[in-house]
C-alpha cells in the first residue's frame, strides 16, 4: 500500500502506537520527553508536516476534539492501516547504523588548535550536560513501571531501551573522565 516513508514518519507513528490520541503539539511534547534520547526529536513544523502526510495516506486519523469549551483542537490517532504499515516497516527495513553528530568529539579532534585547557573545559562542560541528560532519562525510566492491573506490559521494550540509554550515558561519563585525565596530563 504505502511507499516507504522516512524514518521520522515511522518514529511518530510509533509514538502514536502506544494508544493515545494526541494533538500535534502533544505529540511533539511526547517526542521531547521520550523519543529524543534515541532519535532527535522532530521540529514542530516537522511534526505537523508528517501528521498531514500520514493522515493523507490513511495511516493516521485526525479528529476534531469538541470537548474543549471554546476551542477546537485536532487530535491524531494511528489507524489499523498505520499499525500494519509500521509493523511491516519494523519487520523488513534494512538495519542502518546510527547517525551521530558529536560536537564534543569533533572539537576534541581539533585539540591541536584549541589547546589542552580549552579541551579540558570542553570535556568538563560536557560532563555537566551528560549528568543532566542522564537524570532526565532516569526520570523517564522510573515512570515506566509495570502496571499490575494491565493485562499487557506496555513498557517492557521502552524500559529495555531506557536501560540501554542509561548504560550509554554511564560509559560515556567514565570515558570523558579518563579523557580529562589524559588531556590534563599533557599540560605538565
Amino acid at each position: 500500500m504505502s511507499q516507504d516513508l522516512p524514518t521520522t514518519s515511522y518514529a511518530l507513528l510509533g509514538l502514536l502506537s502506544f494508544g493515545d490520541d494526541l494533538s500535534g503539539y502533544e505529540l511533539k511534547q511526547r517526542a521531547d520527553r521520550t523519543l529524543r534520547f534515541y532519535w532527535v526529536s522532530p521540529a514542530m513544523s516537522q511534526v505537523y508536516t508528517e501528521l498531514a502526510r500520514l493522515t493523507k495516506l490513511g495511516l493516521v486519523r485526525a479528529r476534531e476534539d469538541t470537548t474543549a469549551p471554546t476551542r477546537s483542537t485536532r487530535r491524531f490517532q494511528i489507524t489499523a492501516a498505520g499499525r500494519r504499515d509500521l509493523q511491516r516497516w519494523l519487520s523488513s527495513a534494512t538495519v542502518e547504523f546510527p547517525a551521530l553528530k558529536h560536537p564534543i568529539a569533533l572539537r576534541l579532534l581539533m585539540g591541536h588548535l584549541a589547546g589542552p585547557e580549552t579541551s579540558v573545559t570542553l570535556l568538563e562542560d560536557y560532563l555537566g550536560l551528560l549528568a543532566e541528560r542522564r537524570a532526565e532519562l532516569q526520570a523517564v525510566r522510573d515512570s515506566l513501571i509495570v502496571d499490575p492491573h494491565s493485562p499487557v506490559d506496555r513498557f517492557r521494550y521502552p524500559r529495555m531501551v531506557a536501560d540501554w540509554g542509561l548504560d550509554y550515558y554511564e560509559s560515556e561519563r567514565a570515558m570523558v573522565v579518563e579523557l580529562i585525565r589524559r588531556v590534563a596530563a599533557t599540560d605538565t
Copy 2:
C-alpha cells in the same frame, strides 16, 4: 570578520587544518575515512557547497593544480584567517549535546509491535554492523602512529578521540549482547 557558520563548515575546516591541500573529492574521502565516526560525513554536494562558501569568506584558498598532465583540479587549503576563525570557534562555541538518530533503539522501542524474534534479529544484525565499524575505526587508530621524526605529534588528539570511539563501540557491543539475552528471555 566572519559570522558564525554551521558546525559542518568548521568540521571541514578542521580536516583542512591538518595541513594538506585537498580537492573537494579528496576532502570527502578524508571525511569518510576519519570524520564519520564522530560527525556524519557531509554529502559530496555539501562538501563542495561549503568549500565555495568558505572560499568566498576567505577561510579557505582554492588553487588550480596544474601538475596533472591534462586535467585541472582545484585544491583547497585553509588560510591563516580560516585557522584563526576555527580557533575562535573552538574556544567560544557553546557546548551542545550530541545529536543521535539511532534506528535500532528506535525500532526496539516499538518491540511490542515487532515481537521478540524480529527484535532479536534486529539486534543481531546490528552486532554485525558494530563489528565492522569497530574494525574500521581500529584500522584508523592503528594508522595514527607517532612519527618519531616529526617535531610535533600531529595525532595526539585524534588518537584520543579514536580511543573514545572504540570504547563506545565496545560498551555498545556488550549492551546489545545483554539486550539480546533479555529479549530472548521473553520468548520462553
